[in-house]
Subunit: 692 residues, 2 copies
């Protein structure tokens, strides 16, 4: 295995050298550039291209409305980055000695973007000019985002470094699912997410528009769908078209998902005649797998869906249409004698076969309206033709299963943002990772890419941005950049930049955190609460669902809903401890910094107390505050042992084991993110014992 | 004088007692409530009205679309404040034992809001219900804002304290001018400012839509006005109508200003035939008083204005129309022989008389279109009838002059936000202050109120919010609340709350500061820059205009453009020093805190240096950083003298004088805001000398 890997590396280098690009391909360790996703090929040169107010923009080759809109957005963004007043409109003739950004688009590309759209571009920067060229306008869009991320500042000016980039995505499908059914998200939040996606070169927004808890799209043919199914919180068709256009302008396809035959309580609350069991139905308040389900045996259901899909097909231009298909528990099918008879008559041996029957009928309807089917991995069934796309969410294996039967597939397993994993966790998940090693090359190409999934149970308008960003940037890079790019430290360094970059773009993931802490702190100065909150991480969906019975009506206004998924403070502290322990003797300064941190967090408790005491929303964090205090004390003791070389007592040892045990468990649906680092300190102190 | 004041106080108390309201009227010192503006009458009781998700809303009396929209905004805002999922829609029948917010609106009020609109309301809160009643929907709007500001939290729940409020504004005109001509402000920024104004019960947006540097309103009759006069940055009529409607919904009138006959270069760049000197004209890039001016002697000018004002009168429903009228330098009038002849023919003895002639003609046109004239104080002239309203900006005296001739007037002198004064400075300015003491009661009532003015020379989309808010809240309180309310400490305590309240409402004054510092810090962590920046204050218009020749093209991307107008850190530090010096012996703790602050700021310089060194935008602050270091050192020395009682040397003394002299002057168009506090420490140390 090691030999193979080594060989691959040699081949890679060979390719790189032959194609004339530098050795930095896929490696960022030796680079000061903060690009994300990292480009396929990059060669750096010495010097810089100065960006000032006189920058000229010159466009040649193909041009259209979208391209010109993108240029004007880029100019506006450049104004945001530099603070320069609006830079001139594009010039029509090149004046040789003026610094110029030359854009050359070769062709018009497809009218409707698809997974096959060419997104490649080349960006060459010398001291006199920037050359951006691409086959299609989408490639130009991608290149502009690279250009904008490259802008930096030194003691003389804003500039971008001289370099040459040839870039294209590794995967054709780089998506984000946003669930607007469980908790409504207004159009401006969708737009802000699209802005961020464009900055990270993502190209699919998967819009989860219906579920048991809500139907979020206006239907003019079946108006009760949104009238009864949404409690007034839906997108009207004009808004939907505007969002689609907004996404198109940024090179992002929008795939609507109308989940069926399960997850359809909201449909059925409006049209109970579609259901497998007698109504009436009410919009579901609670999360989880519910029983209500469409009746796949009734022709009227297909007549309804034909009309509905026809209406939606006219609004959503993308060739893909997501029909959901997940988590059908079949209880209502089993309970209905007519459905049981139907299964027997049609030789459908189980409910999965019945669902496959439903999907075959659905596929015909979709094809009639010019659409391709995509669904969750439950749709996989021998009876279903292979011209469908499967979205794997329950494991990697369905990915391989899909492509080996000739279907195309995308990966979402490992990219569930509501599991509150670290960016590093997601970064390590590769749709063509070792699980795909046995696939043929042709099969591999049928793995189109992946999608980060932002399910809506535990997000509101207030915290969705902090749950999606910046972590999704790591997934965006995994799906765009070369396989070889795997260095976590480099990823985090660039992620930190992207985090701030997105804030300056208008994303609210950082400012909302402050606002939510302020609410929790009431009339108090929230600074001590922030110091404490920075050490916490929210539990994922699993822990939360087990802790209490959540529904749409439970407020998400607690600390767990405010703190970002990944503690940057704890991550850096862990790094610091790791480095210090490598060579405790030689890192006096690091030891001192660890001590300062622990003292700060321990000392902060005095200011924290009056805040938590006076806020009913903060009572639940008091035990966490106690644990943090204990952890800091234990960490300081461990440091003393490490520094002095003294041997900790047996009691100290067993106390530590106890503390680690207690502090590792979720409290108030959160965990203390410095636990592993404190554990390392304790282990190191214990090592004294063994060393003796 | 002292006797008169004392008498007034006694009378005030008498009125209060007679009217049955508590002694807390106009006084907040003994109150924990963080209301702003403070209500006219308030009586507190013990206990609380708990706010939970079951809060019912019941509406009786008059109801209309605007009122219902306001209720639904209030419910949404309550959701933002508490984090509760949407609270139920209004109920139609009261269930006696359920906590209910009862809203009773007596009448419909006027269709078009005017300065005479009744804005009064009563808010009574007992443990079972909240009663809000008002004569008109506008009063209900005002009362809802009070209700929202009252929401607080304790260890059990969100609640509002039991109380009884009777409230109404002292002045009928409480405005904010936003200049969108010098720097364009997009509709969403206007809307955010309207949100904040509504929260502070302000009722006029004065929209400065044209000036030498731009004409910002679409005209369909004279399309070159916006096409040539705006470089593409204007409000189309649909946008303008939407903004007007948005303001109406929040009880805010919009007064358009089209400044004439001066400040009209943008008009003249489109239609040079209106000018007093031959064209062609170009939009002006530089600030200041320019020569171009309309020709008041030509009939075609009035024909043009008649059509234009007719068009605008149809868009802007308010009865007032602002014609500007300021800063006509008359150079082009003097240079034009036909104009000179006209003056002679019409016995107009000077240019001011010529302008009065122009204004008389304009007044007739406005009256024809059903509008009242309002203009800057330069319009005051014996020839102009008194049915005009004068906006005093050059001093308090024109206010008295206006009302004594029978015109109504509003005050803006002292409310210029671009002068970068403190909130306390603005708070002390009263339109009926001592300058108005000699006026009759009738004359006093002709003082309609005032307007904060946000002129646009030194603001961009990035910093307008931090320049307007929270300072304007102090002006809003001055114009709404009783005269007797003057306590600065109370104002600042409540202003701090409003500052955070506005951030949670979506205002960007705080988040943009962070974004701008990040730009200045480049790739560095901006934390040390923030610690430093928090000690600075930007210079006002005067200093900046003298420092360099500013124009539309000069980037406003420097530290001076980022730091808030008033340093909260310095203000608190000054308070601390003040308190410590009152009794240096008895305030060991305060002395210690002063020392910690000075050490922090001095020590921060080490981290600051690598940031300033690497950012061309930060070079100019290096001397300021030096001064801060010197000030901290000097302050620490002074503290030592104060604590030990040792006598400072003559050299120390003269060094201190030198430092104070150097550090008081603006550098990089900023001042160091801790200078006065350090000065106090030095003075106190010197006192040792005299004490001996």
């Amino acid at each position: 295995m090691k030999i193979v890997k080594g060989l691959r590396l040699i081949l890679l280098i060979a390719v790189v050298v032959i194609s004339g690009y530098g050795l930095q391909t896929g490696r960022t360790e030796d680079s000061s550039l903060l690009l994300m996703p990292w480009p396929e090929h990059i060669e750096r040169n010495h010097g810089k291209f100065v960006i000032d107010q006189n920058l000229k923009i010159y466009i040649s080759g193909h041009s259209d409305r979208r391209l010109m809109a993108a240029v004007s957005r880029m100019v506006h963004r450049l104004g945001q980055i530099t603070g320069f007043p609006i830079i001139n409109s594009p010039i029509t003739e090149i004046v040789s000695d003026e610094p110029t950004f030359r854009i050359h688009c070769i062709g018009a590309g497809e009218e409707i973007q698809s997974p096959d759209t060419d997104e490649s571009y080349a960006l060459d920067v010398n001291s006199q000019s920037v050359h951006l060229s691409a086959e299609s306008p989408i490639g130009i869009l991608r290149g502009m985002e690279t250009f904008l991320q490259l802008v930096e500042m030194d003691d003389e000016s804003f500039f971008i470094p001289l370099l040459s980039i040839k870039d294209r995505p590794r995967f054709r499908w780089r998506g984000l699912l946003i669930d607007v059914a469980r908790h409504w998200q207004p159009p401006e939040i969708i737009r802000r997410n699209l802005d961020a996606m464009a900055a990270l070169k993502m190209n699919v927004l998967h819009w989860h528009l219906s579920d048991d808890q809500g139907f979020r799209m206006e239907s003019k043919i079946f108006p009760k769908l949104h009238q009864v199914g949404s409690k007034g919180r839906f997108y009207n068709q004009k808004e939907a078209r505007e969002i689609i256009r907004y996404a198109q302008d940024r090179g992002i396809r929008i795939i609507p998902e109308f989940d069926m035959p399960g997850h359809t309580t909201a449909w059925l609350s409006a049209y109970s005649e579609l259901a497998s069991a007698p109504g009436p139905y009410q919009i579901e308040d609670f999360w989880g797998i519910r029983d209500p389900c469409m009746d796949p045996t009734r022709e009227s259901v297909y007549l309804f869906l034909d009309q509905f899909i026809g209406e939606m097909a006219d609004i959503f231009p993308d060739e893909y249409f997501h029909i959901g298909g997940d988590e059908v528990n079949g209880k209502h099918w089993n309970a209905n004698s007519e459905i049981r008879d139907f299964k027997e008559r049609h030789k459908l041996k189980d409910n999965h076969a019945l669902q496959a029957y439903f999907n075959q009928r659905l596929l015909k309807i979709l094809e009639k309206h010019g659409k391709k089917m995509i669904g969750w991995d439950e749709i996989l069934h021998p009876d279903l033709p292979n011209n469908v796309t499967v979205q794997s969410w329950r494991g990697m294996d369905s990915l391989a299963k899909s492509v080996s039967r000739g279907s195309s597939a995308i990966l979402s397993y490992g990219y569930y943002l509501d599991h509150m994993q670290s960016a590093a966790f997601h970064y390590a998940i590769d749709p063509q990772g070792k699980e795909a090693a046995a696939l043929t090359d042709k099969e591999k190409t049928q793995i189109l890419g992946g999608e980060a999934c932002m399910w809506g149970e535990f997000i509101t308008e207030e915290n969705i941005e902090s749950r999606v960003w910046p972590r999704t940037a790591a997934i965006a890079e995994r799906l765009w950049s070369p396989t070889a790019l795997k260095d976590e430290a480099s990823m985090y360094r660039r992620l930190q930049f992207i985090d701030r970059y997105l804030a300056s773009l208008g994303l609210r993931h950082k400012s909302q955190y402050a606002t939510l802490l302020q609410r929790l702190a009431g009339k108090h100065d929230p600074a001590p609460l922030r110091i404490f909150a920075d050490l916490l991480e929210p539990s994922g969906l699993g822990v939360r669902a087990r802790t209490r019975k959540y529904s749409r009506l439970i407020p998400l206004n607690r600390m767990v809903d405010a703190v970002p998924p990944e503690s940057e403070t704890a991550r850096r502290f862990t790094q610091l401890v790791h480095r210090a322990l490598k060579d405790p003797a030689g890192s006096q300064e690091d030891i001192q910094r660890i001590r300062e941190h622990l003292n700060l967090w321990a000392g902060n408790q005095v200011q924290l107390k009056p805040i938590t005491r006076q806020s009913f929303l903060l009572h639940e964090i008091e035990p966490l505050a106690e644990i943090v205090l204990e952890l800091c004390a234990k960490g300081l003791q461990a440091l003393d042992y490490i520094v002095t070389g003294e041997i900790p007592s047996k009691e100290w040892h067993s106390e530590s084991v106890g503390l680690m045990g207690r502090s590792g468990k979720p409290m108030a649906e959160m965990t203390v993110a410095i636990v592993p680092a404190i554990g390392m300190l304790i282990e190191s102190a214990k090592a004294n014992r063994r060393d003796q």
